[in-house]
Symmetry: D2
């Protein structure tokens, strides 16, 4: 059965595996001080166009979130997240384990808007309540929606005015940046946030996220935080080689673009069948609403999440495409649906 369940069902892009093989027997320094990590960081800095940023390669998204947020906040400070945010609902209380409250706000199709942050600030004004200090967003969101350049700029300005840290979870960032209508670049992400990460795991790597820290105040001794959380890999080269390859010859964006195209193909096919959607997602997650009996039939040939009950006879499902999704599989899915 073909799986549209997530974007981490396959291994790594072949170029990455090849790079692992080519470099394998060369001795390198440990703990991220290897030549590949240095190269990868240089490439990303060049692409962003800022040499003053700090970049750290970390194994996964939850790990990056907990290290970054745990490092950025003082004990009594809290983060604000959409109630759909990954740190709020899908990380087994990892942020709370670092001691910090996650204040949730109603999301606008997965997105955080300044007005809702303001409402939180209005009721957190003394020492009997936590001090909201960091705004967590994900781009794309957990619902596949994206921030336009204007939206993220507005958030950035709001955060600066209110002395808040803006932090973006980019587990699927490639997919967001490949949507032209967002007019958003990697440089924008860097300029508009205090820190964000560039997801590798869901875009062709075996594992790895590149955390970018722009805000000078958040940089100090960051490697201590990584080591303390058990996340400083002895063979840091494994992360370095992968990001080196992803940011060589534009591979990162090619892969994200492919994932988006496959999602578009799904969406187009579904629309032709007059399918409705839970949400209008331009990225690599698609949320069609189908009849339950149709879903049951599809489940015999495809794997996917049943996302949400809509009514007694309909549910929304989630279909995720990736760098590895085959066009034939998408067409087969649409074909099956037509039947």
């Amino acid at each position: 059965m073909y799986s549209f369940k997530n974007d981490y069902s396959e291994g790594a892009h072949p170029k990455i595996l090849n790079a692992l093989i080519v470099s394998n027997m060369t001795q390198e320094k440990g703990y991220g001080n290897d030549t590949h990590t240095n190269n990868a960081i240089s490439k990303i800095k060049n692409l962003i166009g800022n040499k003053d940023i700090d970049i750290h390669l970390i194994s996964g998204g939850t790990q990056t979130n907990l290290i970054a947020i745990g490092a950025f906040l003082k004990p009594y400070e809290a983060c604000i997240s959409a109630n759909t945010g990954h740190i709020a609902v899908n990380e087994t209380g990892a942020i709370e384990y670092t001691g910090h409250k996650v204040i949730t706000i109603d999301s606008n199709a997965g997105k955080v808007i300044p007005q809702k942050i303001q409402e939180v600030l209005d009721v957190h004004t003394n020492e009997h309540v936590v001090k909201p200090k960091l705004v967590y967003i994900s781009n794309p969101t957990e619902l596949g929606t994206i921030y336009t350049k204007e939206e993220i700029k507005a958030l950035s300005n709001f955060c600066k005015s209110n002395d808040l840290i803006l932090y973006a979870d980019g587990a699927r960032l490639g997919s967001a940046l490949c949507i032209k209508e967002s007019y958003l670049t990697l440089s924008d992400m860097c300029n508009f946030t205090d820190a964000f990460f560039i997801g590798g795991t869901k875009n062709g790597a075996l594992l790895g996220e590149a955390l970018v820290i722009r805000n000078e105040n958040l940089k100090e001794n960051f490697r201590y935080h990584i080591k303390q959380k058990g996340a400083l890999l002895a063979k840091g080269r494994l992360l370095g080689i992968q990001f080196e390859e992803l940011f060589k010859d534009n591979l990162y964006f090619e892969l994200a673009n492919h994932a988006n195209e496959m999602a578009n193909l799904l969406t187009e096919g579904l629309k032709e069948l007059n399918c409705k959607f839970l949400i209008d997602s331009p990225t690599n997650q698609v949320f069609p609403i189908l009849e339950n009996k149709v879903i049951e039939k599809l489940e015999k040939k495809f794997i996917f999440y049943i996302w949400e009950k809509i009514d007694d006879t309909h549910s929304a499902i989630r279909l995720v495409t990736s760098w590895a999704t085959k066009k034939e599989a998408v067409l087969a899915f649409i074909h099956e649906l037509k039947k």
Copy 2:
């Protein structure tokens, strides 16, 4: 320059890389529910000869230590470690970050002995002090020494009598088990401890440690702990494939054996030159004492740690061999020393 600095300077054993390639495009479930992880766990259970143990694959040693110890202890409980133990001196306070004190005791050549534990128990008897609950050992120790079967059995009995958890860090466990004089097997490690881990990173894997939990009381909901600490890899297959390969056809022990042999070759060569040693280590770490001016010359051709000052003109260095160490490099080192 050839490096004897550690056992993680190269990538992975070629068989592992090959397995990654072969399996790469097959879709697998995420988060360690893939077929490779299941296979790897089966193989290890078979080898240990115990189907009732739980096994979890985790990226690195510090991460495994902090997840396991953080999961096993109640807030007011503490661990006891040799003052040379990795958790005591080399993990940036990772255990303390989980809230637990690490009580250090003088080590016997890196090893923990019951008498020293008893001294700790004697002065921790009420609620004004922490309650010692877990004994941390590493085998081999950070000084390359190993526990004999008798020694670890005595520790085990002592811990059982005193309601203490015995936990073993096996970052270099392969190397210890390949020393015949220890008469210690993987099954023994399992039977004599409540939990221990089998190191992959330092024995041919890109990353990965296999945590084995035998004590029934320590198993419950362990995956929650892994996820909360950010250590549940989306592509858990990466760990599964590697341990599957390591425990196929005895590869794990072959690699460890090679590392030991290269260390022996070094030791023999050094002894022929009448070199003294800081400690008598049978495993893949060798600690010769050399004249400082000799060390300076060696440093022009080889990379290694200067471990400890001995006197004004001598220091002990640490030479580490691994599955990837080339015999020629060892011979070249001895040859250089002869000059």
Copy 3:
């Protein structure tokens, strides 16, 4: 100006101060091992009619909550609270600092109902999300409402069926138990919860809450938790003497009853003036809705919280009475309002 702002504006009931004086120069053991603490605990056990419970005297409500919840939960477990609950909104993230998420649910006039808990359980079923384990209620609630015996029994049954700990914050418990219509006794509170506390600070003591633990599984080594959180007072006698006095001659309930009567007097007076209320509170917190210009005038003679904006010209205020509230002050308030 007379304050109706809270129930901790004055010192302690004179009988308590007298008891402090009488016992002052007698030498006692430290850390809660004194005769007064032992007496106080015996009295409370007798009153509850259960000799097998554990009782610990702790300085304040937030402190009791964080010690108890921190002790009762494993790292990945979470508590469920009404979104109006004190631990959710008024403790500066104290529970999160102990590492645990507080999942909030919509409250029914400040109260938790099984249906809302069930909804949380339904979406927390695997290791990617926290495991809800403890239900936090306050009785009376932060809105002054109370649980009837039937309501708390239903909650208790629900929690038992779902392997959840039921924990009650009784910062103002006396006030709740003195409402006859609740048909609820101290014994009921003990039987229906796994642990709860009897508030002293807001009912005549200088400071102090008596934590009662009935569930055998939650008792072990609890004093270690108290000491570790810095809450084991050297002069534990201070807490012991106060609870000894509060539970001698029914003083605790007399004081709570007085607070309720004063609140009733306020409510009756307000009703005569056709005042509406934000909520129907039978305990010592009253929430009348008044015209803003009336509030402004009242503020010149009385101190109270403006609780919530109702519309452009009206707000709800909070008036709190206590053991120390003078009848004359209540009458003066009503008198002022009549003008």
Copy 4:
């Protein structure tokens, strides 16, 4: 039986109790915003001669230590303490619970010396180990010894040069400052440390320590930390009234002086009997070495700690005097010993 076991066996100095009674029915603001707390803080600031310091009143010593150290350090930073330090041996891992390692060094009769700190700094130089950031001292030490002005100045200079925070636990500070030979004043304590606390519990108060923060960088939002740790008393007046009284008319120093005089009387009496001492303590703790059979007899009439075994027939005991110690009791002890 008369107890010399500690300095918290009695209640509070009568003047303090009287002040509680006098102020009892006056309504005050909660949470330390009352007039008494403000007065107490003013008095201490005046005495120290520095208006720019921050002062917070907190219930107990362990609580003050954990709040202060938890607030002052970043997650990867550690404190250095003498191996006899209260935070190292007597607080049930409270500091580790806040996430920070306590690095212990050999003490010089309970005191920390720069050379030992330097040795710690020398081996903590990268992200694989914690970053030592705070030096914890107690004055007097747990062995009753005191720092001279010169000693504490040297420590202060060393800490400044090495970017370390110097923090002093003053649980028995009054006793230290009343030793003229130390030439140390409250102002000195303030100038030479970044923060320290003035102990009330062991010098006549029911409970309470006054934390003084001089270093500007450590002051921010400190009340949030206090609240989050459950230590912001609703009736903060209880602490305010006591410190107001202690620092009115020199009471604090009178009480400490009395404790010292009683200890001197004990020491002199013991010396006349040719008694030897474990350590030469000028403050209110005395450590005579006595024959075990003598100790057994004394235990029938007096309560005290047996501190340490000296040899098969001798042990050191600890005798503690306080503001409440009666001269007759001291004389009776000496008299008993003569027999």
